[in-house]
Amino acid sequence: MAVAEAAQRIPHPLPAPWWRGKSGAAVLVVVAMLIAFLGWRNQGHWPAALTWNSVGPHLDRFQTWLSDNRNVPDPNLAFRAFNGLANFLDHLVAWSTRFFHWLTWAGTVVLGTLLVLRFGGRRAALGVLAAFASFAALGLWEESVETFSLMLAAVSLSLLVGVPLGVLAGRSSRFNRAVTPVLDAMQIIPAFAYLMPVVILFSVGPGAAVVTTMIYAVPPAIRITALGIRGVHPNTVEAATALGSTRWQVLTKVQLPLARRMLLLSVNQTILFALSMVVIAGLIGGQGLGDSVTNGLYTDPAMAIFAGAAIVIMAISLDRATEAMANRTDPAHRHLTADRSRQLRTYTAACAAAVGLTVVLGHVLNAGADWSRWTAQDWLRQYVQRGLDYVQNPSTFLFRDLTNPTGNFIVQHGIQPLRSFFIETPWPVTLIGLVLIAFLLSGLRPALIALVMLFVVGFVGEWTNAMDTFSQVLVATVLTVIVGFVLGVWAAENRYVSRALRPINDVLQTLPQLVYIIPFIYLMPVSGVPGIVASVLYAAPVMIRLVQRGIEGVSPETVEAATAYGATRLQVLLKVKIPLARDAIMLGVNQAIIMVLAVVVIGGLVGSGALGYEVAQGLQRNAFGLGVVASIAILALGITLDRVTQGRVRARTQA
């Protein structure tokens, strides 16, 4: 009896039902927005009084001014400096191309393969060799060499800029905080928006392409370097400091050698980011595979697919090669003694000799710079063309009964209603609703940032377009999260799935979106859908990887404990692993949104309209101002969504 009484006195810590919690409040907000939508449909457009229309024209005038002052016979010093820089970059790429030509194709193959063999090991070297064979077989040798040279220049310069800044960001939290939003902007603002000013300053050609690529490839170099420097155990740094090392000694003798693996991984990531700019670089004279993709899209889709394949092969082989080199040469695990380094030096010399011999032989036998004797292009073309004919044929089962109705369904029941909801709901309702949701999900600060950002969107006159894009981003994100979550969990639980997914993810992340979108333009020919498919295919790999890593990262001890209490595998997954991986999953959602936004412009090129269309026009119809304004809106949307989804996780990890 006494026990029961005591028990009664203890207040029951029962959790409140979900509808009384924050999710309930968020649902309420959505319902209120829906009521406003139904009641005051189309009655509240963003007021002209709150719009500053002259941003675009101002920017256009700026561009004209820039061009006028640059294209005079005797430009001022600043422009001459840009000229000099552009020339230097052009030459850098040209030298590199010429170097490979001088090596002859045979020397190039031997150099690449032996270099990777010496530092990365057998598997990676075989991969590189296979890549060379593929370039030859695809009949894209010269294009591949050009693209590789461009990438080599862009990546080395990105590292030259990014690594020191990354070191700085790794050692100073203040610098890190200051530089992070800049890096975010560099990665979210579509390249189309700044292509024209880059062209005016640096003219066209490989130099301008290098600059454009760098804008996108420097951020990962900085981020990963900083991560590497931060990853060095503080104890080690402290020990070195306590022994009287100067800051420079700490950096060169402790931090850099120990962060070296991460530094090489940053090379790896920088390469992948640089390769994803190849197509855009092609628009301003970047040459190589990028040109083949763009031209192929208009005149020969099979060629675009070949060039896309070459880009993917280059990316994957370089990824594996740099990763192998990073792991194998990691000084912390390599245990390099004096004896061993002497031996290794001998092997290096042997490899160098082999390369030299090949080059000499190449010249003696007149091997030529370009492999063009034999290619499998025509043979491959039959199959690719057959595939293309199949997807282009509207009377197949696939199109008639599967993809076409699906596409139409998504448009009619997903995109269109959502789009009208966001566009036609009076703007104050949408604005306040979104800010409230941000507040409920992430807290006060993120909500304030969302408020400011949404206001910026309206202020630059992009409210309607932004809401249009927003609705599509939302559909794409939901699909990405579903696909990514399911596959990520599955991959974490099943290593065969994991192994099968890895190459697919790699391909999707490196294949230019315009290439893999080709079949979908035909299979789901309804505006909006190919864009969404492109975003989902581009963003899902990141979500999959983060979910998988999160679930695999759950401590085995915890899993063991749950198992010991008799939990089934499903229970372990649902009650232990997924809840514990929540942060990783939320991070995945957040990254998915950023990635979806990154391909908004591609969407514009395949019928998603709205902001992406305007950015594309900015470059193609000489509407620089319009393009920049739309890009600002994209950036503002990106920041809003980032804060809404990431706020709480970040707040927790920072505490």
């Binding site: 063999l117 309804v526 909006g528």
Partner: protein, 324 residues
């Protein structure tokens, strides 16, 4: 020990790769050599097939008659003006009236010069499949469309008919035209030209109704039977590029014929290179261009081969460019 094994393996591999490379080289050596009397000329090729056609024909002709070394750049339509201004590209042989650029680079900065029309006359308009025209002869003019717009319904156009807009990079005014003509069309953009082609060609193959922004010359016109819908006649002050903004009424007319211009870098024009004179005289017809474009885009002939083929088949025409 493991090290030494690995080292030996590596040495063997290195030697193996070198020998294999040498062996392949013996089989696959290639010779190269070019004569250059006019030096080198850089032409810019744009993404669409027509541009590829005239660029490669010009290339073949310059190589054959002047022994030029011809480089080809592939730079988008707007950025290429900066390339012309810097002399990084010498010539664009097909420019669809980029009036803003003319003002900026040709009139004001004088870094780019006109090279005269290239003989091709472009025409933009509203097109429908020929089979549809047969079923609905009233579609000959835009007035016949009135009241029948819902025939063109699509998933994204709701209760209206769908008008398929052109590539965002092309000159257009269809949204304004639809409004000015009072038609119940919803303007739908499906993006760049390849996507737009995909859209209407899929509908064409299904024999469904579709109306879209299209133009001539275009090699696809040989593959698909299309018919044009007549728009209201032109009047003075009628505008074609919606970028100009303003009242929709000033757009209420058919698109003008587009004279396709050649533009050259000022540097190239004043260099005294004989290639400049030849390129200035370069001119051919819509049919010529469509033929070559079809070879390249339709039959997947290598652009170089297609150019050479046309140059040798049309020697008389080509010789005129070189003043012979």
């Amino acid at each position: 020990m493991k090290d030494r094994v690995r080292g030996r393996w590596m040495a063997v591999a290195a030697a193996g790769v070198a020998i294999a490379a040498a062996a392949v080289m013996v089989v696959g050596t290639a010779g190269a050599g070019t004569k250059a009397s006019c030096g080198s000329v850089t032409l810019n090729e744009q993404a669409w097939a027509g541009s590829t056609a005239n660029t490669y024909v010009a290339k073949a002709a310059l190589e054959k008659y002047l022994g030029c070394k011809v480089n080809i750049t592939q730079i988008a339509e707007i950025p290429v003006y900066q390339a012309l201004a810097n002399g990084k590209t010498d010539a664009v042989l097909e420019d669809w009236q980029h009036v803003d650029q003319y003002k900026q680079y040709i009139d004001k900065q004088k870094t780019v010069v006109f090279g005269g029309p290239n003989g091709v006359v472009g025409h933009i308009g509203w097109f429908i499949p020929a089979y549809l025209m047969k079923e609905h002869p009233e579609f000959k003019t835009w007035k016949g469309l009135k009241g029948k717009e819902t025939l063109f319904k699509s998933p994204e156009s709701g209760s209206q008919g769908m008008f398929l807009g052109g590539d965002p990079s092309y000159v257009q005014k269809d949204q304004q035209l639809i409004k000015a003509l009072g038609l119940n069309f919803k303007f739908v953009s499906v993006g760049a030209e390849p996507a737009q082609v995909a859209r209407w060609s899929q509908l064409y193959k299904q024999h469904k109704p579709v109306i879209f922004y299209w133009y001539t010359p275009q090699y696809l016109n040989q593959e698909f039977q299309l018919a044009e819908v007549q728009l209201p006649p032109r009047f003075k002050g009628c505008v074609d590029d919606a970028k100009a903004g303003g009242d929709v009424k000033k757009y209420r007319c058919a698109y003008d014929k587009t004279i396709i211009e050649k533009v050259f870098s000022k540097k190239f024009a004043s260099s005294g290179n004989p290639a400049f004179a030849a390129m200035k005289r370069f001119s051919w017809s819509n049919a010529d261009q469509e033929t070559v474009a079809k070879w390249i885009a339709g039959d997947h002939m290598k652009p170089d081969k297609a150019g050479q083929k046309w140059v040798s088949q049309n020697a008389a025409k080509v010789k005129k460019w070189f003043g012979k």
